[in-house]
Amino acid sequence: MATAWKVWLCLLAIFIVALVSFGQPNATVRALPEYSAQVGEPCATCHVSPSGGGPRGPRGTAWVASSKPGAVPDLLQALEILGVRLTVDPLEYRAVTQEIDSAAAPEKTSIPSAELLEYLRDYEGN
């Protein structure tokens, strides 16, 4: 009797562990069709891929960040949720003129190597 009780306990423990681990964070990174059904939007709303899965875009990321509410935030809301304020002006990235600068032929200019290297060592990033 005692053994049966122990077996039962073990099975129950496994069940609990399975139940709890289902809620682990890595489960949240999988694309699930249920999510699409839940929010009534196609997979591409959240994912870069139209068929879902893989990298998420800003709207998908914001939806996960806000604990997956019933609706996916629109792009502006998403950026706000993620604390993003753009520092670039998208218009500057579009070509508006067909005039092309002519190429400048190379010239001999000089700068001390140490100064150039100091400049190059001062790069941005990690």
């Binding site: 129950l12 423990a13 069940f15 609990i16 139940l19 709890v20 289902f22 809620g23 682990q24 964070p25 890595n26 990174v29 870069v48 891929s49 139209p50 068929s51 899965g53 893989g54 990298p55 875009g57 800003p58 990321t61 996960v64 960040a65 806000s66 604990s67 509410p69 993620l82 604390g83 993003v84 304020r85 753009l86 520092t87 670039v88 500057e92 990235y93 579009r94 070509a95 003129t97 067909q98 600068d101 190429a103 400048a104 032929a105 190379p106 010239e107 001999k108 200019t109 000089s110 700068i111 190597s113 150039l116 290297l117 190059l120 060592r121 001062d122 790069y123 941005e124 990033g125 990690n126």
Partner: protein, 804 residues
């Protein structure tokens, strides 16, 4: 200093988690005791800044999830660490981090073994006996700081600040700025990075052609054709996690499937996962790129509008004085015919032609450069990198969707003004101890490989104090034992190692660094193109009496005093980071809660747009910022005295080891190639058992080194699989069991990097007494400096193999 750094994720989720626990407990009626008192606080681990003393979640079974930044490799993923009762118990990816989106590789997961490693040094150590004797005593931090300050003050008083040198490896976030500022204001030009062993030439190639002083990143999500020249894209590249996600998407997640081609002498996991592996003779990537350019140009498959309007030096041209110069097109058509390139690379002409055709007609196409140590280190790295990068310009993939992106960074608060005193100015006017910038290597940002010999010869002056930060030169470049000798010649060596690595063993003093899971900091998000920062925060209280090297440098600055203290006025490294990040226009609470901030959107600059000059020509110093990609590098033309046209154009130089076909080549018939593996951590943090268990993912070797040989070559030598052999070069020899591997260039051999460290702990399954796990392949090579770039040149090294 932040008042309250509690992470608070939106509450719904934690309620759900608690509900889960409650349901489980109620339904079962058992196991409740296990969870009694358990309370999951998502995101709240360490609840206050370091100055307030880290109050870790409870001594009970209180549970929390803490978001931080991984430092096990340069990818810089966001992590979410589960902490129970003040102990970190599980590492996962941060689901809302743009780079890894919840994914975490095995190295990240194994980082807890670094945190809890028995190899960690727990207190500052002073060497009592002879350097390298292992006769250490524990001292207090005050004593340790005083010892260093005394030396630093004395050097400045003697007017020799330049005789301080600092060698560093990867520095993340504000650390590089702090180190550079410290050394500059102190008055030493000798901040020497390990870049010459890795990515230096790639950075320079980007600068000399595209005019951007940065490492290129690649938009694989939108690419149709990806050609990875060298490296190990899906195991060890700088952005491995985001590239893994992007490639999966590129090949399976979108309607039009893209193609990945991996070019390398060895078939790695990247090659296995690629659509095509192209085996190539070691050291000849540049020739392949030029051969492909030949086909693309010959067949008029290049982007003619882009090349005409937004590049320079494609066609022959006349300079202002009327002198005619050769352009890229002429050079490539004359010199890099299919027959010649096929003979150099060992790749069939039809294959080169097919690859070129596919690359040019499946746009957007992108040619990727490797940054891992040794990958381009064949003495021709700069021009090879320029050649490979030029393929991107030929097909118009510069800042185009699916092409090369220019990594952006946030604008941060300005560093305070500095004033350099006379001592600092004198010191900074001295030449560098590693010779970077000297006549034969004028573009070398660093030349670490030259340091041992120059120290031993006292050139150009003796080094009096050497600081080692995230760097282990005795392991990375043994140079036949000369690096260890050089360290012994420096009167005072200080290491910031967290375990007793080979260089730290030769130090006078060890100021043990806390692990990345115990400190505050930041990490620039790289790989996506858009600007972003990941926050690093302690997930547990510092386990031992260790410190963040950032805090130690600030303490040294304060005690040295004067201009140095004024230039670095922060009380802690975290205070410095908070100051710098304060300029980011975001809600700090959200930033903390998410564990990262980023712009989320990358805008590609159309050629000719106002932003175009930020992606082409932006950083040029000597030549016009006219928005043109330089096939003919006008920077090089300006910089070099009497350059020939070829000196300014991408071209191919045969590595010296391949030129040799005489007696020496017959005695040492094999070419040792390198390729970083996913199981190799970036910096040695002690032996990590989980990584050792998986070290040879393909060879199934664990807790040991192995040497891979092509089966035909092995059989010709009469070797049996797993037989122990000697691998010997001119410079040293090591033993390892041989593994037959058909995925290897016929006369290449491969020894895994990252092994052969000595350990203080008796690890290892096969040999419980072993204090060294595997062998260090670096003992077989001798690093020279490539002309111009100063990149370490040692690949491929010739070796012979015989039975042990």
């Amino acid at each position: 200093m932040p008042d309250n750094l509690d992470l608070k994720k939106p509450s719904d989720s934690s309620v759900t988690r608690r509900d889960f626990i409650k349901i489980g407990a109620t339904a079962a009626g058992v196991g409740a005791a296990l969870w009694a008192g358990s309370r999951l606080q998502k995101g709240s681990g360490v609840s206050s800044g370091p100055a307030g003393g880290a109050a870790i979640a409870a001594q009970s079974m209180e549970e929390s999830l803490v978001r931080t930044a991984c430092a096990m490799c340069p990818a810089g993923c966001g992590l979410e660490v589960r902490v129970v009762g003040g102990k970190a118990v599980k590492v996962e990816g941060n689901a809302i981090h743009p780079l890894n989106q919840g994914v975490c590789c095995l190295k990240g997961q194994a980082s807890l073994e670094v945190l809890y490693s028995p190899e960690r040094i727990r207190n500052p150590w002073r060497q009592l006996g002879a350097r390298g004797s292992g006769d250490w005593e524990e001292i207090s931090w005050d004593e340790a700081i005083d010892l260093v300050v005394e030396k630093l003050v004395a050097l400045r008083q003697a007017g020799k600040p330049h005789s301080l040198a600092l060698v560093h490896g990867e520095l993340r976030g504000e650390m590089r700025g702090l180190v550079n500022r410290f050394m500059q204001v102190y008055g030493s030009p000798n901040t020497i990075s390990t870049s010459s062993l890795g990515e230096q030439s790639v950075r320079l190639a980007s600068y000399l052609t595209q005019g951007v002083n940065g490492l290129p990143v690649y938009d694989l999500n939108n690419a149709s054709y990806v050609m990875a020249f060298g490296g190990n894209l899906l195991e060890s590249s700088r952005h491995v996690i985001s590239y893994l996600g992007s490639l999966a998407f590129m090949r399976r997640g979108r309607p039009q499937r893209g193609k990945l081609v991996a070019v390398h002498p060895r078939l790695s996991l990247t090659g296995i996962k690629a659509d095509e592996w192209v085996p190539i003779r070691p050291g000849t990537y540049g020739a392949l790129a030029l051969g492909m350019a030949n086909v693309i140009i010959n067949s008029n498959l290049y982007d003619q509008d882009f090349v005409r309007d937004f590049t320079f030096g494609f066609e022959d041209f006349e300079d202002a004085a009327g002198n005619l110069h050769k352009g890229f097109k002429s050079l490539v058509l004359e010199r890099y015919t299919l027959e010649r390139v096929s003979a150099i690379t060992g790749i069939a002409g039809e294959t080169i032609a097919r690859l070129a055709g596919e690359f040019a007609t499946n746009r957007p196409a992108v040619a990727m450069l490797p940054t891992e140590p040794g990958e381009l280190g064949s003495g021709n790295s700069l021009y090879s990198a320029m050649a490979i990068h030029s393929l991107n310009a030929l097909v118009g993939s510069i800042d185009a969707p699916g092409g090369v992106l220019v990594q952006r960074y946030p604008t941060l608060a300005e560093w305070p003004e500095i004033s350099l005193d006379g001592t600092a100015l004198t010191g900074l006017g001295q030449p560098r101890i590693d010779g970077a910038g000297q006549a034969d290597i004028p573009l070398a940002l660093s030349a670490l490989q030259q340091l041992p010999d120059r120290i031993l010869h006292g050139e150009p002056y003796p080094v009096e104090v050497l600081l080692l930060l995230n760097a282990n030169p005795v392991y990375d470049l043994p140079q036949g034992g000369r690096t260890a000798q050089a360290l012994l010649q420096v009167p005072f060596v200080v290491s910031f190692a967290s375990t007793l690595d080979e260089s730290a063993a030769h130090a006078d003093l060890i100021l043990p660094a806390s692990t990345f899971l115990e400190v505050w900091g930041d990490d620039f998000m790289e790989g996506t193109g858009y600007a972003g920062v990941t926050l690093r925060r302690p997930v547990v209280e510092t386990l031992h009496n260790t410190r963040d090297p950032g805090d130690v440098l600030l303490a040294l600055a304060k005690h040295v005093g004067g201009g140095l203290a004024e230039a670095l006025p922060w009380k802690s490294y975290w205070e410095l980071v908070r100051y710098r990040l304060s300029a980011i226009d975001t809600d700090w609470e959200i930033f903390e809660s998410n564990g990262n901030w980023s712009e989320m959107v990358y805008f590609n600059a159309s050629p000719g747009s106002a932003a175009w000059n930020r992606v082409v020509g932006r950083d040029r110093r000597l030549s016009p910022k006219d928005g043109r990609y330089d096939f003919f590098s006008r920077e090089l033309y300006s910089l070099l005295a009497n350059p020939r046209d070829e000196d300014c154009l991408p071209h191919f130089e045969l590595p010296a080891t391949l030129e040799d076909v005489g007696e020496f080549a017959q005695e040492y018939p094999f070419l040792l190639v390198s390729q970083a593996l996913i199981t190799q951590s970036q910096h040695w943090q002690g032996v990590v058992p989980t990584l050792q268990e998986a070290y040879g993912l393909q060879s199934h070797a664990r807790w040991t080194s192995w040497v891979e040989m092509n089966p035909q070559a092995a059989e010709a030598l009469g070797l049996e699989e797993n037989e122990v052999v000697w691998i010997e070069s001119q410079f040293g020899r090591v033993q390892a069991p041989v593994r037959f591997y058909p995925g290897l260039w016929p006369n290449a051999v491969f020894l895994p990097a990252g092994l052969g460290h000595s350990s203080r702990v008796k690890w290892g399954r096969g040999s419980p007494e072993a204090l060294v796990v595997g062998v260090n392949p670096n003992v077989l090579v001798h690093m020279q400096s490539e002309l111009l770039s100063g990149q370490a040149a040692f690949n491929p090294t010739r070796v012979k193999i015989y039975k042990a």
